[in-house]
């Protein structure tokens, strides 16, 4: 694990590139229906941004930005958005995942279906982002992850791996 101020070039470069990476991921998710991209790809890019921060700045820095409970919450919310949009179509007398029946104030059915596609891609993106960061956090840390405990004991446990 790289300690703080160990490698100034990597840290500085990641600090510069982080904001464009996250913006690009959100762009990929929201523009997925009109250009190459979609929920899976954008979610992977967002997750890779957080993994980049964790590699360059260390786990403590990243855990202060996005906690593990927050990651789990985001991935649960992603699946819930997807299933919720599907179930909401049943309430307005459609089939499951029949977005054309959603009561949006738009004139044509096809536009409403496009909005539905965008909605479920947000859900997919959140889930994929959460799972990517969660798998990385679990694989990289030998024990439970706690940002306060960065003392000697955990360092020793890390070095033994």
């Amino acid at each position: 694990m790289i300690n703080r101020y160990d490698n100034l070039i990597i840290e500085f470069f990641c600090r510069i590139i982080a904001a464009p990476v996250f913006t690009f991921g959100v762009y990929i998710i929201f523009h997925g229906e009109a250009s190459p991209g979609g929920g899976f790809q954008g979610g992977v890019i967002l997750g890779a941004g957080f993994i980049m921060l964790a590699v360059a700045h260390g786990m403590d820095f990243t855990l202060r930005r996005i906690r593990e409970k927050m990651i789990l919450f985001l991935s649960c919310v992603g699946v819930f958005i997807y299933g919720g949009i599907g179930a909401a179509c049943i309430l307005w007398r459609g089939n499951f995942l029949d977005y054309g029946k959603l009561p949006l104030p738009l004139d044509s059915v096809s536009v409403i279906r496009g909005i539905g596609i965008m909605g479920i891609e947000i859900g997919v993106g959140l889930t994929v982002m959460g799972v990517m960061i969660s798998i990385y956090y679990d694989l990289i840390d030998p024990g439970g992850i706690q940002p306060e405990l960065s003392g000697g004991e955990e360092e020793e446990q890390w070095n033994s791996f």
Binding site: Y82, G114, V124, D138
Partner: protein
């Protein structure tokens, strides 16, 4: 080379031989009239813009026509994340 590895190599070569034998029945690369490209994909290519207002056919098929597939695909990767967490995380304080 150990005998077990030799057995593995022979198995792999036999599998590869049968696959190469089956290649002669497959369509050529870039064939416009391949069976995979004539059954349901013309419908997707022609109708998805009119029906779902999405110029990207892949997104339209992924999220609309095959939405059920994608829903459970999302559930599968969510379960994989949960499985990693249950396997590797030691203590849990809430």
């Amino acid at each position: 080379m150990k005998p077990l590895k030799l057995l593995g190599l022979i198995t792999v070569l036999i599998t590869g031989f049968f696959l190469i034998y089956g290649v002669s029945d497959m369509p050529n690369w870039g064939d416009k009239n391949a069976p995979a490209s004539t059954h349901v994909s013309p419908y997707y290519i022609q109708r998805s813009q009119a029906e779902t207002n999405a110029p990207n056919f892949v997104s339209a098929v992924l999220a609309d026509y095959r939405g059920f597939d994608t829903l459970f695909e999302t559930t599968v990767i969510f379960c994989a994340g949960i499985a990693c967490m249950m396997l590797l995380r030691k203590e849990d304080d809430g």
